[in-house]
Every structure is written in structure tokens, then in C-alpha cells.
Point group: C2
Chain length 355, copies 2
């Protein structure tokens, strides 16, 4: 799949001259062949039928700091609904002020990614939600402790019953993740400039953004950043042509290699989706790059082997700024009180054997 796409890039490079002064109609036809718009309603989930009860529960659990051992860190901490589903950190800060290994990907439109995490190690959002809860540098909890905690709060027991009405013991770690997935599937951002342009509104993108779109497609950015999310659906090496320096691509993080243990997967990552990218600095899995201008220039050299001119970079950045869709308005849920049997927060940090 990866190689097929790169052949696609070569083809696109060859025909780029044709599109140098594409009309709105031509540009629209080209864009619609490459991208699909963000829908206005949450998609149907595989193996997880949505319901109002599941959505209510998932909404609460997304904001629930008691899913973490410290009772301080929730999904919302690193995937802030006020900050386009990300945080403002190079890599996330978790339990004990420990730094996580990678930049927090946005939860917005994440339901449209074919796999989750930078290395694609989770097949869907429910699978993904279980990871940070258990990671020692994130929420530092265990499935058993989560179930004990939720079971100690009668309101949650009732909400799980309503969300999973056919199950005898509905308060489970898996059901926690399924409810969160249903909520996250509603975090979608339709109507950005690109989507309105594709829908027929010539004025939805500025002239610079259209020039940026032309460059984005014809220079080959689209080779990794296509589809509904402009990315998020396939794996590519960071450094197709030339690896960036260790300040951007730390040598210790070999990406998907850690999942597959296959040499060809060294420094391979799932291409990040680009919707709302202007709102979610810093960039790359390392979070080492703070501006889109620098990020686009690096992509030019490392992935395309091109020194993009400053003007070309700025035009592409203009396009990326046109990928900011309608942000979902999320009510902060009211969370039920702990009870006398609710376990207390655990703030201690276990030192690893190497300490």
C-alpha cells in the first residue's frame, strides 16, 4: 500500500505542470478525487452501536479524572476540547509530571483514522482509550482499579446499566472504552474551507489557499495526506528521501518498528491527519517543531526531496489554515461524587528498576 502511494506521488509530480494555473472547477475536481469531506454527523462504529445512554456515559468518562490513579488526569487533560483535541505540549505530561514519549494526537476526527496512535498499535478508538489509562507515564492505572472505582459510585453503575442494558455486569474496562469511543466519534469538525470549496463554494478558499492546494496535490504531499482526514490511514517512513536531524526525529523512537519488530518499519509512522492542524501545534510525533512553516519545509526535504521556496511553504501553510472546521461545542459534564468506598487518589510514582 505504501509503495503504491509513492508511485502515485511520482505520477503526480510528472503531471504537476498541467495544474499550475488550474481553474476553480479543475481544482475542485482534483480535490474531490483526493479528499472526502468531514461528515456533519458521527459515523457508525464497527461493533459498537451508539446510543444516547452510551454517549452520556462516554462524555462523562472522557472528562473523568478518576480514571487515573492520581484522580487528576482524564482523557480531556491531553485531548482538550478547548484546544482542538490536543494539548500544548511537546509530548504529554502525565502521572508524576513524567513526560510521555510522543506528541498527543488530536481526538478530533480521529474516528476517521484507520488505526490509532502514531504507530497504529490500536485498531480503533475503543482500543486506543485503554492505552493511556494504563500507561505508567500517563494515567498510571489498571483495569481492575478502574472497575473498582466506577463500581464504588452508584451513579456510574446505573449509567453503565443504561448504556449496556443487555449485560449482567456492565461495569467493565472494555465498556468504559466503548462508551468513550461513542463520545469521541462525535468530536468531528465539518465545514472547513476545503470541504466548503469541494462542495461548490469558490470563495471558501482564498486565492493563496487555492495555490497552496494546487501545490499540496501536485508536489506530492497528498501521497501521505489524502482521504477524509488528509492522513491517518497508512504508514510511511519519516524521511522517505532524507531523514531529518535527531532534534526532530529522535533516534530512540523507531516508530512502528516497536509494534512489528520488522526492520523496514524503523522510523515508520502513521501519517498524521491534517484537519485542524493550525490549532494543534507543536508538530510531529516528537513535538519538536512549533510552526507550520517549519513543519512544511521539513516535510518538503524529508518526504519529497524538495527545497520548497519560502513562498511555496507559505501557500501550503495557507491551505493548512483552511482545514480548521467547525469546532464541536462540548458541555462540561457534571460528575458524580465519590463515596465512602471510593478508593483515594494515589499520587506516588513508582520508580522503574533502572532508577
Amino acid at each position: 500500500m505504501r509503495f503504491f502511494k509513492f508511485c502515485g506521488i511520482c505520477l503526480l509530480l510528472l503531471v504537476s505542470v498541467t495544474f499550475a494555473s488550474a481553474s476553480d472547477a479543475e481544482l475542485r475536481t482534483m480535490a474531490k478525487a483526493m479528499f472526502q469531506p468531514v461528515p456533519t454527523v458521527a459515523p457508525i462504529l464497527k461493533g459498537n452501536v451508539a446510543s444516547d445512554a452510551k454517549l452520556t456515559l462516554g462524555h462523562m468518562l472522557y472528562f473523568e479524572p478518576r480514571l487515573s490513579a492520581s484522580q487528576l488526569i482524564s482523557c480531556q487533560t491531553c485531548h482538550n476540547v478547548g484546544l482542538a483535541g490536543g494539548d500544548l505540549q511537546e509530548t504529554s505530561t502525565g502521572h508524576g509530571w513524567q513526560k510521555g514519549p510522543r506528541n498527543a494526537p488530536t481526538t478530533y476526527n480521529a474516528v476517521f483514522n484507520s488505526v490509532q496512535f502514531w504507530d497504529g498499535r490500536a485498531k480503533d478508538l475503543a482500543d486506543q482509550a485503554k492505552g493511556p489509562v494504563q500507561a505508567s507515564v500517563e494515567m498510571n492505572n489498571t483495569p481492575e482499579a478502574v472497575v473498582t472505582l466506577l463500581t464504588s459510585i452508584p451513579d456510574y453503575v446505573e449509567l453503565f446499566k443504561q448504556a449496556f442494558p443487555t449485560e449482567k455486569s456492565p461495569v467493565t474496562f472494555d465498556n468504559m472504552a466503548k462508551a468513550i469511543e461513542v463520545f469521541e466519534a462525535t468530536l468531528i469538525t465539518p465545514n472547513d474551507g476545503l470541504d466548503r470549496f469541494m462542495a461548490g463554494d469558490d470563495k471558501a478558499l482564498t486565492a493563496d489557499q487555492k495555490a497552496g492546494l494546487d501545490l499540496f496535490v501536485n508536489n506530492g504531499c497528498v501521497g501521505c495526506h489524502d482521504g477524509l482526514n488528509l492522513g491517518g490511514t497508512d504508514y510511511f517512513p519519516f524521511g522517505v528521501v532524507e531523514q531529518p536531524g535527531a532534534e526532530v526525529l529522535p533516534v530512540g523512537d523507531k516508530g512502528r518498528f516497536k509494534v512489528t519488530n520488522t526492520a523496514s518499519d524503523e522510523y515508520v509512522f502513521r501519517s498524521p491527519p491534517l484537519r485542524n492542524i493550525a490549532l494543534t501545534a507543536p508538530y510531529f510525533h516528537s513535538g519538536k517543531v512549533w510552526t507550520l512553516t517549519q513543519a512544511v519545509a521539513i516535510m518538503g526535504t524529508s518526504q519529497l526531496g524538495m527545497e520548497l521556496t519560502d513562498q511555496e511553504v507559505e501557500l501550503i501553510v495557507n491551505l493548512l489554515e483552511g482545514l480548521t472546521g467547525d469546532q464541536p461545542l462540548v458541555m462540561h459534564p457534571l460528575l458524580p461524587a465519590s463515596t465512602a468506598s471510593t478508593p483515594q487518589p494515589v499520587l506516588q510514582v513508582k520508580l522503574s528498576p533502572t532508577h
Copy 2:
């Protein structure tokens, strides 16, 4: 003022027999002499005229993690609008995972307290808001850094202009605090059981809650916990009759003494308000007590010199559970993106000279 109130307690103790089987009407008359209901609209603030623009800005700033050096901690972190304006911690956890010295008081109805903080060192909510932003164990920031950060984000500059339209340079630390105060003044919880009972609804409190109310007033709890917020308006020693052990009243925290340097203020604290108290465990400035049952029993011995029976404690706890009002429904605000000139997060922890 304190001594007058304690005389009041003595008087009430003397007449308590009279109220042993108070009728609803008698109980209501007594309650209305002691308490005022939580209003349904935000009160007018001294020296800080509210406006929609100030409210919008204050709402955003309350949720703004970029007010902290790490860009991770906001007012909302320790005063969670999903958790009745508190956190779930013994004492709050802040910058560098450091533990703060005292339990986070709720921001709900805090506008009705006559002074802020456990030791009353801030005269109002605007004054209060500036404290945690600068505390090294909380948000670890400086007024100058806050202004630099906010000024780097054009949307904030515009919002400050709208909120403070007559000022030439409206992006100031003081104005940040004023906007937050306007938002916090909306975090009020009317219509709890006590207020509905006082308004004439005999069924707003259960028989046990009414018995608890009778005990609360006639045993003297009301000596420190009266008025609109059932507390929050005056100072009292923790241990009027008998100091609790160091596990509840740590010897190192001398309360208001630190503010006034007056011997008689040792272990003196502003009495905590009791509205929504059932939602904001753990209790006391030390946060060492996790149930209302234990908290009420300790208050009996330390403040009133009474061994309350288990039944009396439970009746008073019943009353306290009737102090949960309508929780405000708060939208999570959308926060503007950082720009290329926005300072990056600073996660480092400065060690104090004693380290």
C-alpha cells in the same frame, strides 16, 4: 465578632430543648433567621462591573492552561466545574507534581464568602485569582509572563479590548483576574433542599434532614456556619474546645497566624462554607478527612466540646446532603490557538534553596 458568635452559641444551647420537636413552621422561622438562600443570579461585584464581554473572557481564562508556566494547569484543574468547583485531592497537586499546602476550596458560591482562601488573605475573587497563578507549587507563573503570553494571541487582545473598552492597554494581570471574577460569580447553586424549605416547601427536606437542621442550629454548628454560605464569612480557631490530632490539624500550618503574625490567630481559619459540601470531599484545610460522618464528629468534639452520638452525626450529615444545589452547566470554552510568538511551556521545577 468571633466572641459575639460564641455567646450566640451558648444562648442557642440553652434554648435547644425548646426546639427538640420543632414544627416545620418553627424550624423555618429559625432557619430564616440564620441563613439566606443562594440567589439565582450572579451578585453585583464591588469595583468590577460585569458585562457579557467580561464574562466571555473570564470563562475562557478560567479554563486557560496557558496561564500556568507549564501550560497544563488552569483554574479548572483544581476547581473543576464537573466536581462542584473542587478537586478530589487531599491538597491540590500543581507544577512539577508538587503538593500544595491546603485543600482547594470550591469556587461555587465563593463570591458570597466575605474573604477568600482558608486564611482569608484575599479580599475578593479577583484578588484570589492572582494567587495560584503565581504560587510555585500551583501554576508557577509571573504576571509579566501571563501578559506576554496573552498579548501573543490576537484573539485574547481583542477580547480584553471588548471586556475593558475604556482602557488603553487592557491586557493586564489585574484585568485577567477581574474577568475571572465575573465568571466565577456565575458559579452559584440555588435551590438546594434548605433553600427550598426556607422558601416554604415542607417536603424539600426529609424528616431526618429537618432533625439534622434542628441539631445543627441548636447544638451550635451555626455559630461558625451561618449566613448565605453556611460559613465563609468569619474566622475561628480549629479547636475552640479541643484541638484535633496532628493527623487532621498539622502543626506546621498555623492558618491565619501566617497572615497577621498575631498569636491569637494561631490555627485560626475562615470557617468553610457548607453549600454542596457532600460533593467536595475530602474535608478540612488539611484534606485529611474523607467522609462527612467523620468530619461532623470531629467538629462536635473540637468546636463544640460534644460527643455527638452516631445518630446525631448521621442526622447532621443528612442535612449537609440537603445543601446540594442546582449545579451550573458550563460549556467548555473554545480557546484560541497559540501563535509563532507565543512562549513555549516551561515544565522545569526550580528547586528551592533548601533542596
